[in-house]
């Protein structure tokens, strides 16, 4: 019974941790949206900045990965 409660808490915590990935989604959307907006203003400069956009996506995504990691740890490791 006690173990079940611990596991329940871990699962609830994992679910809550997954909400952090929504923040990463917002961040990635923001990066790409601003890139597109800038690219439409100055299309000639866009091609050179695609790599920068992907680096920005990767960094924004990294924080979502931490919440994913926390969720995984709560699900399977705790």
């Amino acid at each position: 019974m006690e173990g079940d409660i611990v596991q329940m808490g871990a699962y609830i915590g994992a679910g809550l941790a997954c909400t952090g990935m929504g923040g990463a989604a917002v961040g990635v959307g923001h990066v790409v949206g601003n890139f597109i907006a800038g690219a439409l203003r100055n299309p000639s400069a866009a091609a050179g900045q695609t790599a920068t956009m992907f680096i920005g996506i990767a960094f924004a995504e990294a924080l979502g990965i931490f919440s994913f990691l926390v969720a995984l740890l709560l699900m399977f490791a705790v």
Partner: protein
């Protein structure tokens, strides 16, 4: 564990969800425990990625044609793509490290695409695999940074353009983010591959119900298209982040 009980119960029901079974490592010949030297499905699919690499990069380019055939232009495209990325992101003096980044990129992209074949095993969906690659990148970049710049490599964490009062706090943040790099680097790739494949498997399980099977097939098709894109993008992101870390090691001054 409840997991075991639920999966045991599920054997008798119509809907069977085993989205994680595709990631099981099992011996290729016979049964038994998996030792470090055992030939497993990991071995098979990694070997297939080597075979695919040899087919594309060696056999395809064996004619050395001036006007490339399809296979040769794939090889040349991959070469030009990674070479340009290393040059643009990491700088001209990072070109000697191009074969290492090419190795990582080709292995990841081929494993990802081979993992998209039905019934296949995705080697890059395992954190053990990606973590080793990320740790290799992290350690070699750190050692390279100290070897090239000596103690000056630590200026990577001391942002001289920021106000003096903020610098210790920024240094702390920079150090944390530096040591977190291999974690995000590896889990990004493994998580993306695992999540996509698991979602496809879940939709495939829904196809067992006749009423929603058309929807399920449509969803699998859409997810498969997305996964094809993700397979490439994640390999690209892994390689480009390696280039960024390499640039930090070669030019630590902001």
């Amino acid at each position: 564990m409840t997991q075991m009980a639920s999966s045991a119960d599920a054997k008798d029901e119509g809907l069977v969800f085993h989205p994680m079974d595709q990631f099981i490592v099992e011996p290729l010949f016979g049964a038994g425990p998996v030792h470090w030297y055992t030939v497993t499905n990991v071995t098979l699919w990694m070997a297939l990625s080597v075979v695919a690499l040899i087919l594309i990069m060696v056999v395809g380019t064996s004619k050395r044609a001036l006007v490339p055939s399809r296979a040769q232009s794939i090889g040349e495209l991959a070469y030009g793509f990674v070479h340009k990325m290393v040059e643009d992101v990491a700088g001209k003096d990072a070109v000697p490290y191009f074969p290492y980044i090419m190795t990582l990129f080709m292995f990841i992209v081929l494993s990802n695409f081979l993992g998209l074949l039905p019934m296949s095993f995705t080697t890059t969906s395992h954190i053990a695999v990606t973590a080793v690659m990320a740790m290799v990148v992290f350690l070699s970049v750190t050692i390279l940074g100290f070897a090239k710049n000596g103690v000056g490599f630590l200026s990577l964490f001391w942002i001289s353009s920021a106000p003096l009062a903020l610098r210790p706090a920024l240094a702390l943040i920079e150090i944390i983010s530096y040591f977190v790099r291999p974690v995000s680097h590896s889990i990004r790739l493994a998580g993306n591959m695992m999540a996509g494949h698991a979602v496809i498997k879940v939709f495939a399980a829904f196809a067992g119900v006749a009423l929603i099977s058309p929807l399920s097939v449509v969803a699998i098709t859409a997810m498969y298209a997305l996964e094809t894109l993700v397979s490439f993008i994640q390999a690209y992101v892994f390689a480009i982040l390696t280039c960024v870390y390499l640039k930090d090691a070669l030019h630590p001054h902001h």
